[in-house]
Amino acid sequence: MSDPAADLLQTARALRAEVGAGLHDQLAEALYTDAAHLADRAVTRPDERPRFDLDRAIDRLVTSRTWGFPIMILLLTVVFWITIQGANVPSSLLATLLLDKVHPALKDGASALGVPWWLSGVLLDGAYLAGAWVVSVMLPPMAIFFPLFTLLEDFGYLPRVAFNLDRLFSRAGAHGKQALSMTMGFGCNAAGVVATRVIDSPRERLIAILTNNFAVCNGRWPTLIMVSTIFIGSAVPAALAGLVSAAAVVSVAVLGVLLTFAVSWFLSRTMLKGQASVFSLELPPYRPPRIWQTLYTSVIDRTLIVLWRAVTMAVPAGVVIWTISNVHVGGESVAEHLVSLLDGFGWLLGLNGVILLAYIVAIPANEIIIPTILMLTVLTARLSGVGQGAGVMFELESGNAIRDILHAGGWTTLTAINLMLFSLIHNPCSTTILTIYHETRSLKWTAVATALPLLLGFAVTFTLATAARLLGWA
């Protein structure tokens, strides 16, 4: 007796030959016919078409060939302008509270209780300060940016962005739905990588995974906003500062989109050859956003979750930073050894050893780059009057203090611009790398996804630094 399963499959194969190749289309057609018939019986449409269809009118404007992209850039700029303008005051209030008031109080309390110096160092100067820094740097911009972005999302604008980008993606040999996973990446690259599941073709899905990192994520927005506010905004008259800093952040985000196209184009002509497949994208109706619910969900879902993740990553990183700053080998701390080791390469890239070390320490989360850089800068520049010892994040009196410290660390406008570029173009965070491995189940593609943006980042910053130096700008 033969295996009934194998038997059945054989019968099916034989019968399939009888039916012919048109079956799939026949079935699809039968489904469509039935669906159309049923819907027709159940739905009564209004007799007269409304004279003015608002949805169509908005669509014609925001997806128009002429106005689509300018409107997109304008909307993004407005969102960042509001974020930058609104975040300044609460940020410095939080910093004053957590760093200037609470931290010394904790230190005093610890010494009154006779806590050994190394323990209060690790806990208060390392873990607490790193966490406090993350909260004061990240909370205000996120609390403003996420609700605004979520309102745009609820209104139905994101699919229109995807629609506008679709043509460019197919020209780059990629799938139009990559626009959706990329948009998701603007929130979180790990989520963006998971979102590529909507793409049917494995080739196009890999392209979408490998390039998702070029969508600036939650963790990187605060870095860009802060660096741009301090260095770019301050280089122009005060009245324009907010607008110019917002424009700089938008430029980096737009550059990321352009890089997505360029790298997708490159991949689809080299490692991942093939034709772009077609698909249909549904433009959902515009829906008036529910303001309060949006505020609630974006505060709970995004702001607090991202903040919590940042704090849980920052606390151990703070411990690491304090430890490498206080363990001395041959008269210098481990951190100083590492920074001077990386300084030469950092200089070539228009960055410095501190920034590179910060990117190594902060692999688990992009969110803690700025706090890490500040801690390490204070240490290596051996600033007097700030902080109470090695690896201690300092107290600051105003937003200008950050600039003063970075200037003391040898920062120039070139450093700031290259940091913004490197923030856009470097390896994904470890969470995203892990997600890429889960989604591709391939060490090779995970390695490519990690190394490709890193090498590209080195190339871009090196080129810009060299050009700036040759032209005498820096």
């Binding site: 059945l8 489904l31 049917d200 974006s298 879902d301």
Partner: protein, 279 residues
């Protein structure tokens, strides 16, 4: 024909008895009486329905493709505990992409006690396409006619009674984001899960091709012989004729055989484990 959105008493009524029975449990529950699957096209408000039922505040976005993995939650109604699984939104169940495969495998192998098909009332034709495919796989379904507020805004009138008669499954008009119709949906889900309501869903009529119909009935007989008790032999036969690789492998590795051996009566946890849902 009239605009019928509140045909059942008690819609959008937070203090009605049915809503008081609804103990919102979030995901904290560890045993279930029934499993409910939530299927539907992208951007029909599935996640909003999910949140309305579970009390979870999963972020919902106005764009297709937001939910690509499965979200899970639970609720209690009529003294029964329900586990609810939000499937990725898809336009079809032909399993050409990962999200379609996740949705289809869950409905096929997870054998949910009820599948709630969320459809956009303003785009009924396109949405019924998926609904009909779901009804080919399972009998136990409820159609949630969501976004009725949008339909009203566009001055569309949807006759849900006729639709329910035509489809052979309960149809609940609702606006999940305003909380309208949630109570009625729960009633219907409860009814189907407990067997008080026995849907007799619309199945694709003959394919209008005599030769195909003859081949199909031949193969259906073979499928039924190989897997007695399979709830959707006709659908499996059609998939086989359509050269569906994942169904072929389900036959080869015996997972389809498990279905026919009465897994329907297996404990919920066992059925969930089969499709990889942590229990």
């Amino acid at each position: 024909m009239t605009m019928t959105t509140n045909t059942l008493p008690g819609s959008a009524c937070a203090t009605c008895p049915m809503n008081r029975h609804l103990a919102r449990l979030g995901v904290s529950m560890d045993s279930w009486d029934y499993v409910v699957a939530l299927a539907g096209n992208p951007n029909t408000g599935k996640s909003t329905v999910f949140n309305a039922l579970t009390g979870l505040r999963q972020h919902t976005g106005n764009w297709p493709g937001k939910t690509v993995a499965r979200a899970e939650g639970g609720f209690e109604y009529g003294e029964k505990r329900y586990k609810i699984v939000d499937l990725p939104g898809t336009y079809s169940l032909l399993a050409t992409s990962a999200d379609e495969e996740i949705a289809r495998d869950f409905i096929l192998f997870g054998q949910p006690d009820v599948t709630v098909i969320v459809v956009d009332a303003t785009r009924l034709e396109r949405n019924l396409n998926l609904a009909l495919q779901v009804l080919e796989i399972t009998d136990k379904a409820v159609l949630a006619l969501n976004l009725m507020d949008e339909a009203r805004r566009h001055r569309l009138v949807v006759d849900e009674r006729r639709l329910a008669r035509d489809l052979g499954v309960p149809v609940v008009p609702m606006s999940a984001r305003r909380g309208e119709g949630v109570g009625e949906l729960l009633q219907m889900v409860h009814g189907v899960a407990t067997g008080e309501i026995r849907p007799r869903p619309h199945r694709l009529a003959s394919t209008r091709d005599a030769a195909l119909d003859r081949v199909l009935s031949q193969l259906v007989a073979r499928v039924e012989a190989a897997f007695p008790g399979l709830p959707n032999a006709r659908w499996v036969a059609l998939r086989l004729l359509d050269d569906d690789a994942s169904i072929e492998s389900a036959i080869r590795d015996g997972s389809l055989g498990d279905l026919s051996r009465g897994l329907q009566t297996a404990p919920v946890a066992e059925r969930l484990a089969l499709t990889g849902v942590a229990s």
